[in-house]
Amino acid sequence: MRACLLAVASESRLGRSARSPRKRTLLYVRRHRSAQPTHRFAQQAGKHALRLPQKLCLCMLALLLLATASTVHARGADQAEQPKVRVGSKRFVESYILAEMVAELARQQGMMASHDLGLGGTAVVFRAIEDGEIDAYPEYTGTLAETIVPTVPTVPDGRRSSQVDLTSLRRALAPHGLSLSDPIGFDDTYALAVRRDVATKLGLRTVTDLASHGELRVALSHEFAGRNDGWPGLSARYGLGAFTPRLLDHALAYEAVSRASADVIDVYTTDAKIARYNLVILDDDRAFFPSYSAVVVYRTKLLQHTPNFGRVLDRLSGSIDAETMRRLNARAELDGVAFDRVAKDFLAAPGSHSSTSFSAAPSAMPARLALGTWAVILRHGPRHVMLVAISLLFATLLGVPLGILAHARPRLGVALLGTAGVVQTIPSLALFCFFIPAFGIGPVPALLALMLYGLLPIVRNTHAGLASIPAELREAALALGLSTRERLVHVELPLASRTIIAGIKTSAVVAVGSATIAAFIGAGGFGEPISTGLSLNDVPTILEGAIPAALLALVVQGLFAIAECVIVPRGLREAR
């Protein structure tokens, strides 16, 4: 499970998504006052959703309509007069900062700009821009070539073995209604890094230099070790066969190298921690690693309707080199400066903002944790509760009738319970992702998935509760001349209520847990700090999400104890 979470939580900015943990995603948004907790569509759907409890009679159909309606509503909003730009980003710091820059520059050009923070991984964000839910987002050429438009040929040239041809990329993106800015200036690709003291002592500058030092200990991330354009290819190109790399989680790699239990690790060239841990990047002198040049992908129509956006792109073009990007990442990721602050400061005076506190190790954890947990409850609690409440409401509205049906029609019942059981075995993340093609990202697919998860306990318990009613009571109700509906309402459901409530309670507690995974598809909730913490391997941040989720589960238990007193008839309650 954790591996699964890690995979999506930390979709790599190079777009090699879901294959391996990438460690340098967002610093937790709590620190960034301007950061929006969720993107706008999520909020809109949330507003709709909050009215739902008052309309108990609405069923699944309504939810689907709602999903459509909120999307339509959201899309309708861009018809307004003032030019609007919605910038998206992926779930890591660098993407946030670049997106903030685009948004800020757009504002300076008189546009209304918003930043939909951390929509998800490459596939999700690309889909959002294709669908017009966002207008622009930062991307990397290699990612586009590899995952989005794999038809683009990579041309071997003198410098890079697989330099991505911008013209071909632009041609490939055109049918999607998308265009590409000029390169922002830095490459964010794989590299090998060594401790500075080792590099100095051995005079290491390039990967070629490394080849003759087989005694050095190499520690690699699982992904890098397994990819053809990672270690195997690199090793072949440079003749690194003498090394026997150890594999470890990427987040631990920096720790390992800083404690001198490893000498060489794989990094991304703009990793904030390269400077913090005092590492030196070895030059890829035989041009092995592909180019992952940062660019902005934008909707072609945006530039047509809002020519000023061109100035935004011009301003960014060639403005940030890898060293600068490392510093900016470090400011946000290591110093905890808000993304928009980092972006604005850079735009105001490029180059003047060196990161100040590389040496500052995380300290005063308990205090930070306590404070963070409160902030998390306030920030993510309502959304989490909304996810649980709405999905539970619909699971109940659907599950109880299905349970009744399963009991009334035993053959159908077997099929129903079987199906609900199968749904339960689908890994939750897979189920969440399953709805993305139909409903996009955000709370709607999350609600659907949570509802499906919640179904089984409710259907099963409703069925079991009805089946456990003694035959003589069933017969007594029948002999009284009650109709099927009267028997159900006045005798059978009340008699089964205890079991049914227990099923709903199970479902609710499961939903509190499962909803934390909803954050991975942009639905928000306590899963946000958890996913962030997982991707940063930062236990306190994980706890900031996990503790409120656990507390909520306890609250839910308590609420159900109260609900039982209200719902279960007194004659049954006192009997036990």
Partner: protein, 246 residues
């Protein structure tokens, strides 16, 4: 009032009711008696439409019981089972008035009827607000009787109503039941396996064995002119106190 016309019933290839014709007139009280599994409860359930005869038909008040009218028929029948069959989630009173409430009777009417029935069934009114589990077996049975009588049915069916009670309470209830039967002049069919109880509660007794009614008559006829050796055997199996003392 209740008439079986050549009914037959099999379950999974086993005949549980051989061709049977039986009638209970208006105000008549019949006891069905016989060993376990002889089909007496099945006959009772046929009247309620909960068991459908394979052949033949059942009439209640001259009307044939069909799927279409079965609910209406049931509301004209009071049904009491062993231990009352009360719904545990409802108070004694709510058990009694459930059907009346759903039939749209007014509160006032219902309240008056409940008090009337409590007196009739000799149930202290203070017990009306209790849940079944805090009533004794005898009290539960009295509530069950009240529930059966709530809509003032034409027919009262009792399936071993006193089977689970201890002897003293049982004797008391037998007396009270007989009083109620005589006072209300309803058609009554009571299933029991106790000859004494049958003779005490009903005017005539139908002795059943293996899905057949062997003989119908009063206690005197059954003991004096038994139609089948089984009847002699069955009657003599009910030992008297005198026998025990000897």
């Amino acid at each position: 009032m209740v008439r079986f016309e050549a009914v037959e019933k099999s379950f999974e290839g086993r005949v549980v009711i051989h061709e049977t014709t039986l009638e209970v007139g208006v105000g008549e009280r019949l006891a069905l008696i016989g060993p376990s599994g002889c089909g007496k409860s099945t006959l009772l359930r046929m009247i309620l439409g909960m068991v459908k005869p394979d052949r033949g038909l059942v009439r209640v008040g001259g009307e044939r019981v069909t799927d279409a009218n079965v609910r209406a028929v049931r509301r004209r029948i009071g049904y009491v089972i062993q231990d009352g069959g009360l719904f545990p989630h409802l108070t004694a009173e709510d058990n009694v008035i459930l059907v009346a409430r759903l039939s749209g009777l007014s509160r006032v009417e219902i309240a008056a009827r409940v008090h009337e029935l409590a007196d009739l069934a000799r149930l202290p009114r203070s017990l009306l607000h209790r849940f079944p589990r805090s009533l004794s077996g005898g009290e539960r049975q009295r509530v069950g009787l009240m529930r059966a009588l709530m809509l003032d049915p034409d027919v009262l069916l009792l399936d071993e109503p006193l089977g689970a009670l201890d002897p003293i309470i049982r004797a008391q209830l037998q007396e009270d039941l007989r009083e109620v039967f005589c006072a209300l002049k309803k058609s009554v069919i009571v299933v029991t396996h106790d000859m004494g109880e049958a003779g005490y509660l009903a005017e005539s007794i139908a002795v059943m064995r293996a899905g057949k009614v062997l003989q119908r008559g009063d206690v005197r006829a059954l003991t004096g002119t038994p139609a089948d050796p089984f009847i002699t055997e069955f009657v003599s199996a009910q030992r008297s106190l005198a026998e025990a003392v000897r």
